[in-house]
Amino acid sequence: MPLSQLRWCGASCLVALLTRVAPLAAQGATVTGHVTNVAGQPLPGVTVSITGMGLGSITRDDGLYTFTVPAARVTGQVATLNARRVGYSPQNVPITLSAGTITHDFVMTQTAAQLSEVIVTGAGTSQVRERVGSVINTVDSTTLKRATQPQNVISSLAGTTPNVRVRTQSGEPGASAFVLIRGATSVTGTNQPLIVVDNIPIDNTTQATNGGDASTVAQNRAADINPNDIESVQILKGAAAASIYGARAANGVILITTKKGSNGPTRYNISSTQTFDHVVKTFPLQMLYGQGSNGLPGGCSTPDCNASSLTWGPLLAPTAPVFDHGTEIYDTGLTNDIALNVSGGTQRTQFFLSGGVTDQYGIMEGPNNRYFRNTFRLSASHQLLNTLTFGGNFSYFNTTGKFVQKGSNTSGLLLGALRTPPDFNNQPYLSSTSELQRSYRFPNPTSASLTTSRGYDNPFFTLANVGNKSNLGRFLGNLSANWVPVSWLAINETFGADNYSDQRLEALPFTSSSDPVGNVTRLDINNLEVDQNLTGTISYAVNKYLDTRIVLGQNLNSRRNQQVFVFGDQLIAPEPLAIQNTVSYTPTEFNSLQHILAYFAQVEADYNNELHGTVGLRDDGFSTFGQSDRTALYPKADVAWTFTRYLNNGAPQNRWRWLSNARLRAAYGETGREPPVYATITALSTTSTFGSGFGDVIGSKQSGQGGVVTGSNLGNNDLKPERNREAEFGFDFGFQDQTSDLSVTYYNKKSSDVILPSPVNAAANGASTALLNGATVTNKGWEMQFNARVYTAKNWDASIGGNWSRNTGKVVSLINGIQFIPYNTEGFTGAIGSSTVGFAPGVIRGQDFIRCGLGQTATLPGVGTMANVDSACGAGAQKNALYIAGTNNRPVVNPDEQVIADPNPRWTGGLNAIVHYKRLQITTLFDIRRGAQVWNGTRSALDRFGTAEETTIRSDTAGIFGKNVLGNQAVAGPGAGKVAFRTPSDWQNWYTTTGGSASPVQSQFVENGNFTKWRELSITYTLDDPWVRNKLGFSQALIRLGGRNLHTWTPYKGLDPETNLGGAEFLTQGIDFFQNPEVRSFILSITLNR
């Protein structure tokens, strides 16, 4: 009825109207209310439902919940209204269901142990945490959201969970994050966990365009996900928990659950976050000595002259202008992040719609370090029948980036910047006459020098290179159906896909030092993963004590990867940086297809809520397994005993009150890692080359004739997946009504049949290597986690939490007595990543000096060949003392290669605290790592070039080994304690030969990489006063001030012991070679809810 007519109606009309409205009201009851914590702050994410009716809603950021009960079910009966949220004690209140609005507010108290929550356990299964006999860690959305910077869901896990070791490559936009769960189990590959989003495995590859040592940073693909869409992250660490993912779960599984809509009025949520980044620390450089060698100036001024690469020149006049090349390349980075969520629904249909824009300008000067991400998502579900619900979840991500060349690359940013002498001004970076790049080694370029190397690129030239870009579009989605035909049977089907297309461009313009004629690389990656997962769950109560549940499942998976790589050599015109503008180009292509057909079964039994056990088996069929055994079986079993239930049965009520919950658990499981694709196939090669290791090679194609030869790698049709067998034991204690808790876990994992490239007899096989199952790796360790609510009062609430873990990894054996395998793409001659017997995978090998007390024999100056070092050291020599000898009183190089650095931490920890005061919340997080060594290759190089601050020691006229050179070490031998350095030339001679980056001995640059980082501080104020709604139209506004990486305590002499030359494309961590540092961030965020 139009309103205009209403006026003309009289009272009778109003009655008529009401009678027409009244049946509507009589149709049901609206249940609504606010949920807050003890501090009075609204609690989002609380599930409020009526037990037994399947009706309910989830509270929004303002703590409000609303749902309706259909009239047919409103009979004035008493029902139980239940409120549940992870980390809070659940509450039940009786309400009388009658037509109209029923209001009930909840005040929830926090509990530390979260035993009653239902957690996702993978492959479509879920379980009450209390009943799971293995460790599954959960990181919730609020924790992830606080760790906004750097917008990478993997990075934001740092410090939150024991034995989940996260390392972000650098503070650059688009840098990848490496995560290792309970140690590396494999001696090849990067040992990254499987990532699963809403039951669909997704790709998390990190692939640098031109190799991880040089090139630019490359994102790990899980970072495409919008962190604002994530409800929670569960981490399956051990083999028992991860066994349900079989041969993809050797390194654990990270299960991501996205936010869903829920019943109630439509909600809006908009947030805007500004993050200001700046460099925490730049490399300490000397400002006293200028370019040159042996104290003489080394600059030059004639056209196209080459100047000295070294900064071993004269002492600069106090008035001479000097430049700090470490800081001049940085400014403040700014990230804008805007997120919008709309959600709501009816009893049968719910939706969640979100969009997000992240726009990051990096910390380096200029516009060419950027990261931009646009995301859209729609999640919806509809209950078609009372027994059948369909759901869908569709998201699209668009990620683009502009990057700066880095690392071991004469066109990389820091390599050129930090080697520049302090007396050379890198500005302007283009010559005013020729408009071509000038650098400290090539200061006066003429137009004739268009294709001449600059030695090292001017960092501002590197920053101005517009040729390094990526552009990714990605679709991720799934459809699901959930059918409960009878109360004891539930069938769930999920079908999903993850598809992305990533287009990369990497180019070097004319005059670039690493390729002065210029080049252009194009890389197009297309990846598609389709997954189908079907489960049937049968629940059966044998009697009133014994509950059982049987899950049967099937999984089909298909992965297709297509890559086209085109290298265009030699630019024609300076612009554009495009393939057709190159003299010649070589395309290469890679395609692969992998299938999985797996079945799994799991039987769970629960006795009286006290004793719980699970046994499971996955039968995995992979197309990548060898023909002789196309399937593999992965069993698991776990048991959990909540013995406080046993104790409290019949015990006086308060006798065990301090121990409110205690649980012992034990689990055993097996997981695997599939062989690389096509490793079973012996094939011919069109790309083989013949020649020597000195680089003189020819291909199998010659003079226009296509040649084909047998490949050097023998296919292995007996290749099996690697297998992890892991046992874990632990307990979970909750104290004092669950106000604090403690969990401790011990695990022991043995990985056998580990795949590695192994030499085979060429005479017998016609090929020299094959992938074989051969190595054995063990990992064992301890994990502890605690939470305690230390103080609770009206308006006040404070709690602390922490975690501690250690993992000891060891390569027990490789194959055929081989003692190590080098990772030739991870590091340098002299400091190369490897797996070495007796150490965890990923240790760095190189050379050391001759040392006393180790039973060494060596060629010693003045003594002769094969001399006994220990007797030359003399009786009083300390073990490990440097042997000093020769005319220059120097240490002696030990030619034997050995492990010089172990980048794996001895232990890691995290400490967090949360304080609530009225509407104010303060949280903080510290991240601690101990015992991980770092090879400081940056210092090694800068000592050689003479720009490192520590090279000011050159003025010292009495340099003595063990004292002020390679200090704090015991020394022995005829030269011990004698002066080795008297003049700057002596020092230069040392640092440019045995004492710097030209030295075979890189062990002298291995440093302690311990750190404690103040990872996070966040202060949030919630505004929900009536004026907010009245004046602003929002129910609530949250204002957050945050800081990330606020302070680092470390003895490390370089930029940051956490960063690494390679990102997640490297297994070897702990290599510092001219990569960018981590950043410190300040965050201002405003969230508005309606």
Binding site: Q594, F694, G699, G707, G766
Partner: protein, 444 residues
């Protein structure tokens, strides 16, 4: 309602059972990136490329240094020049006889040629097999041959002399097969970059190789000289028929000496003063065809990316003929063949009075000079102690064989550790005197 649900379940079950071959077939079982079959011609291109690398890359440089025609002047090459070799330094040399581009693919060519009844192609492949295995026997001595490519664990090493015998058998058979004519005898045609598949040229090569490998056994079997004469007389006598490695000069198709000395490792090798002096003393014009004007590097013409590299030449054939003739007392033939070879090198003929030891000395020195950039210079030194080289390391001998690859030794228990490997191969007992001068041999 329930029907819909059951239909869904039924569809899923059908999906599951229909996928019995979900794990095999198509791109699951074949690698879309690598071929699994190739034509005989394509395999042959690879074999030629592989053989050129075997005869020209590191092996020719290392033996050139040991024969003191080259000098090692930087890093590893200083060590190798000073006889500092371990099984790791030369790791890969031995495996290269068997892997892709070598024996494994020669055998594939042979098998495919047999199936196609192409005896020409088969015969040509046998010549390549003889060249590869004969070279292997020169370098390593005893080698896996009978059990090669059988997949047998720890394959046996066959005695070096038996491998030389097999080489002769292969070549004899090849010569016969290449003569046969028939519609299926097509051969490699243009895929043969050296000879264009010409059976006549391959037959010449087969005879010259017979002469070469017979000569390598002559120290133990002096009776082979007449056979060397017979074979050499049917071998390559015109440089236009030389067996050459040809390079287009494009990427991955470039002369090894160019790649090594110009691109990859400038400053690693230089002319050896011993050799320079020899050429200067003899007033040999090849001083400046081999080396640059200031004698600091190779001649730029040899260092072009598309420089043709001779592997088996008319000079070698004529001089083997001359040597064998002289050693069987046929001075006239020896002198004629020497002068023929000298003419090819742009040298005037030797006087007719030259005979006996003096003639032999001239022939051997001429062979040594002509074999520059070729493993044969070192082989010549080993069997004749010509020239009478002074070892660069006092008290050492000039290395007379290569150590087996570390990777081959580690995967075959029949290969002894380096310390237990012989210093010399069976065919090559140490010379007491230099064949050219008759003086005490200094380097063996």
């Amino acid at each position: 309602m329930r029907k819909i649900g059951f239909a869904g379940l039924g569809a899923a079950v059908v999906l599951a059972t229909a996928c019995s071959d979900y794990l095999t077939g198509g791109e699951l079982s074949t690698d879309p990136n690598r071929p699994t079959t190739a034509t005989t011609a394509q395999l042959f291109v690879g074999v030629e490329a592989g053989t050129w690398a075997l005869l020209q890359s590191d092996m020719a440089r290392v033996t050139g240094m040991w024969a003191q025609q080259l000098l090692g002047t930087n890093l590893q090459y200083v060590d190798i020049y000073n006889y500092g070799v371990s099984e790791d330094v030369t790791n890969g040399f031995q495996a290269g006889l068997y892997t892709g581009g070598a024996l494994v693919d020669v055998r594939k060519v042979e098998s495919q040629a047999s199936s196609a009844n192409d005896t020409l192609f088969h015969g040509i492949a046998l010549v390549m097999e003889a060249l590869i295995m004969g070279t292997g026997a020169d370098l390593f001595g005893n080698l896996t041959y009978k059990e090669a490519l059988t997949g047998i664990q720890n394959p046996q090493l066959d005695p070096q002399m038996s491998i030389y015998d097999s080489v002769q058998t292969l070549l004899s058979r090849a010569i016969v097969e290449m003569q046969a004519s028939g519609p299926t005898n097509i051969g490699p045609e243009s895929a043969d970059l050296a000879y264009g598949g010409d059976p006549a040229l391959w037959t010449l090569l087969a005879h010259t190789l017979k002469a070469r490998f017979l000569m390598h056994t002559a120290k133990l079997r002096p009776t082979v000289y007449p056979q060397v004469v017979t074979e050499a007389s049917k071998g390559i006598s015109d440089p236009a028929d030389n067996f050459n490695a040809v390079f287009s000069g494009n990427a991955n198709e470039q002369n090894f000496w160019y790649q090594f000395a110009i691109v990859q490792r400038p400053g690693y090798i230089a002319p050896n003063p011993q050799f320079v002096t020899l050429l200067q003393q003899r007033n040999d014009p090849r001083l400046h065809t081999y080396f640059n004007a200031d004698l600091t590097d190779l001649n730029p013409a040899l260092l072009a990316p598309n420089a043709t590299q001779p592997l088996v030449t008319a000079n070698e054939d004529l001089l083997l003929w001359a040597e064998a003739a002289e050693r069987t007392g046929d001075n006239a033939t020896a002198l004629a063949k020497l002068n023929q070879a000298r003419a090819l090198a742009g040298l005037p003929p030797e006087s007719g009075s030259l005979s006996g030891q003096a003639l032999l000395a001239e022939i051997l020195i001429e062979e040594y000079i002509a074999d520059f950039q070729n493993i044969e210079a070192w082989n010549l030194y080993l069997r004749t102690c010509t020239p009478n080289l002074v070892p660069v390391v006092a008290g050492s001998i000039v290395p007379a064989r290569f150590l087996y690859d570390a990777s081959e030794r580690n995967t075959n228990s029949n290969i002894p550790p380096p310390t237990q490997q012989p210093a010399r191969n069976q065919n090559d007992p140490a010379s007491t005197t230099s064949d050219a001068t008759g003086q005490k041999c200094l380097g063996q």
